[in-house]
């Protein structure tokens, strides 16, 4: 027991010292495994983990969903999405912020990553919120929070990884994310209004657009809608597997970008190489995390955790609340994907033995991870925004996300109280 606790503490220390997470996990795990099973077996496991997981068909969805998101971005679909949401919402109190949230939700339906969603929407919606006198806190807060929906509303890279680690159906996980994602949109809209109730001077009204303009703007969502229907519809109807959906989705986004003449040879090169780099970066974290989970497995952590929980005689809800607390704490300092890769292998067996639905738990984990993206001190969505609007102090952004974090907590409680939110759609598949 002492071994794996030491391992985790050392890992956190090495990460805090600024060593890239992928290398920190690999190195600490290797030393730990050497301590558990000896030098030669540990070294041979190292080679095997990097080889076997590099050659994984199921994991090929990762680069393809990243690619799809990058093509969608290049095709300018985010601008259209925002224009449409804006046309209908701009004249309400806080309308531009609400339009941002809705557009984030829409863009999430074709982009698997939260950071890409936040980065894209920041470029698209910041200027008009500025123009209408929205405070920086409200403007950046709504983008940073809205962006987190990227990993909950399908497609989602994080859900894919969860499905791969826990051997759950990725299609079902995607469907399970839809309703909690919509509830998330709703919650964030309420958060905007609440924040305006508390401080009404944060935004100016914009004039309503005539109906004809609104309808014109709405046509812009056709591209996103078509792509989303193709990918999710294909999975839902069983025309192709979730793995294949990624390839089809990337190809569809590629075609849209091509038809809209947004791709030169140069941008095509850049989009693809960037996807490749992101893939490499993600997989090296994944390899490190898999090695680390082998270490804690060999050090007997799953058994220890199980016996603690049985000793406590804990009710599933109590266990879930404890796990949520752990996620909030880890989420303060860890990056989202590494956090999931690190924790799911630990919690999953325990959770399943308590009779919690594995698909539901996937959604629970993703919502918990979403929160970590906007909590200080390490909130990646906040950092992304900061890199796009460097003039806004980081503290202001963190202040701006507070009402949204409150809604996140409400949402996760709702999810615990009403598990059907996640389970009703996959049940129809």
């Amino acid at each position: 027991m002492i071994d794996w606790i030491t391992g985790i503490v050392v890992l956190l220390a090495v990460i805090a010292a600024g060593v890239p997470i992928a290398f920190a996990m690999t190195a600490v795990a290797l030393v730990g495994i050497i301590a558990e099973i000896g030098m030669s077996p540990a070294l041979s496991m190292l080679g095997q983990v990097f080889y076997d997981n590099g050659m994984s068909y199921t994991l090929s969805v990762m680069p393809l969903f990243v690619l799809m998101g990058n093509f969608v971005l290049e095709a300018g679909l985010a601008d259209d999405m925002y224009a449409a949401a804006n046309a209908w919402l701009r004249h309400y109190r806080g309308g531009l912020a609400m339009a941002t949230i809705v557009a984030c939700g829409g863009f999430s339906s074709v982009c698997g990553s939260s950071l890409a969603t936040a980065a894209t929407m920041a470029r698209v919606s910041m200027p008009s919120m500025h123009r209408y006198g929205y405070t920086e806190a409200l403007a950046t807060g709504s983008i940073a929070a809205g962006g987190t929906l990227g990993i909950l509303i399908p497609p989602s890279i994080v859900l894919v990884l969860y499905g791969v680690i826990t051997q759950q159906d990725i299609g079902k996980l995607f469907l399970a994310g839809i309703i909690p994602g919509l509830v998330g949109v709703l919650g964030y809209l309420i958060a905007v209004r609440l924040s305006l109730l508390l401080r009404p001077d944060q935004a100016r009204h914009a004039d309503p657009l005539p109906l004809i303009e609104r309808i014109k703007a709405t046509r812009g969502v056709a591209g996103i809608l078509a792509l989303f229907s193709c990918v999710m519809g294909g999975i839902y109807l069983g025309i192709f597997t979730a793995t294949e959906a990624a390839g089809i989705g990337a190809f569809g986004a590629f075609l849209i970008a091509l038809v809209r003449r947004r791709l030169s040879l140069r941008t095509l090169y850049e989009v693809l190489v960037e996807t490749g780099r992101m893939t490499a970066m993600l997989f090296f974290i994944l390899f490190g995390a898999l090695l680390f989970s082998n270490f804690v497995n060999l050090a007997g952590m799953p058994g220890d955790l199980r016996s603690w929980i049985t000793a406590l005689g804990a009710h599933p809800t109590a266990v879930l609340l404890v796990i949520l607390m752990i996620y909030l704490l880890l989420g303060a300092v860890l990056e989202s994907i590494s956090m999931m890769l690190l924790t799911v292998p630990v919690f999953f067996p325990v959770i399943v033995s308590l009779g919690v639905d594995p698909i539901w738990f996937g959604i629970f984990v993703v919502v918990a991870i979403e929160i970590s993206l906007i909590t200080p001190p390490v909130g990646l969505n906040v950092f992304v925004l900061k890199s796009i609007v460097p003039e806004v102090p980081t503290g202001t952004i963190f202040r701006g996300v507070v009402p949204f974090i409150a809604m996140d907590i409400v949402r996760i409680m709702l999810l615990i109280a009403l598990p059907w939110m996640a389970l009703v759609l996959p049940a129809t598949m």
Partner: protein, 184 residues
């Protein structure tokens, strides 16, 4: 992520040969990812329109994924895009930050060397069994040697980066924190 400011800093003065190498690696990724996308699409369309899936699409995809990951590695290393927590280091003065980045790069290069070595050993073992892929019967050893080769390139890339940081520390140049913000 496209649109993030280019790091510049100590990477600014890279030689033409290094840039050319980067470009070639990028080109390989371009081909691999386009092929991956098309293989899946052709496989699915072939299955429904011609009732003939692309034979071996599954395995081709696996191998292309592996190649994308390992060819991407040296590029990530050159750009210092590995996710790191910079809470502590961003408080350092530029000079200390460069020293820190150089040390971390060297340590990570060491880790990559060990990985490359073990990939070779594992691939030798697979080759000694005569392991092949299920459908296309491609030998598994050479795939692993390729992975190891690019891992080695990754280690070299980190050595280049470490040298750049050492040079920058000497001239006390300002640099953005090592390890950028990356996507999830």
């Amino acid at each position: 992520m496209s649109g993030l400011p280019d790091p510049g800093g100590p990477h600014a003065g890279r030689s033409r040969a290094l840039r050319a190498a980067e470009f070639v690696l990028g080109l390989m990724i371009v081909v691999l990812l386009m092929a991956m996308m098309l293989v899946t699409t052709i496989d699915v369309f072939g299955r429904y329109l011609l009732s003939r899936p692309l034979p071996g699409a599954f395995e081709i995809t696996e191998i292309m994924l592996a190649m994308t990951i390992f060819i991407g590695l040296p590029l990530v290393c050159l750009k210092e895009e590995h996710v790191a927590v910079t809470l502590l280091t961003e408080r350092f003065r530029p000079r200390l930050r460069n020293v820190h980045a150089a040390i971390v790069s060297l340590a990570c290069a060491g880790v990559l060397l060990v990985i490359a070595w073990r990939l070779v050993r594992h691939s030798l073992q697979l080759a000694s069994y005569g392991d092949v892929t299920i459908f296309l019967r491609m030998p598994k050893g050479p795939i692993g040697y390729t992975m190891a080769g690019f891992t080695l390139l990754g280690a070299l890339a980190l050595l280049v980066v470490a040298r750049e940081h050492i040079a920058a520390a000497r001239s006390a140049q300002t640099v953005p924190p090592a390890g950028g913000i990356r996507d999830d």
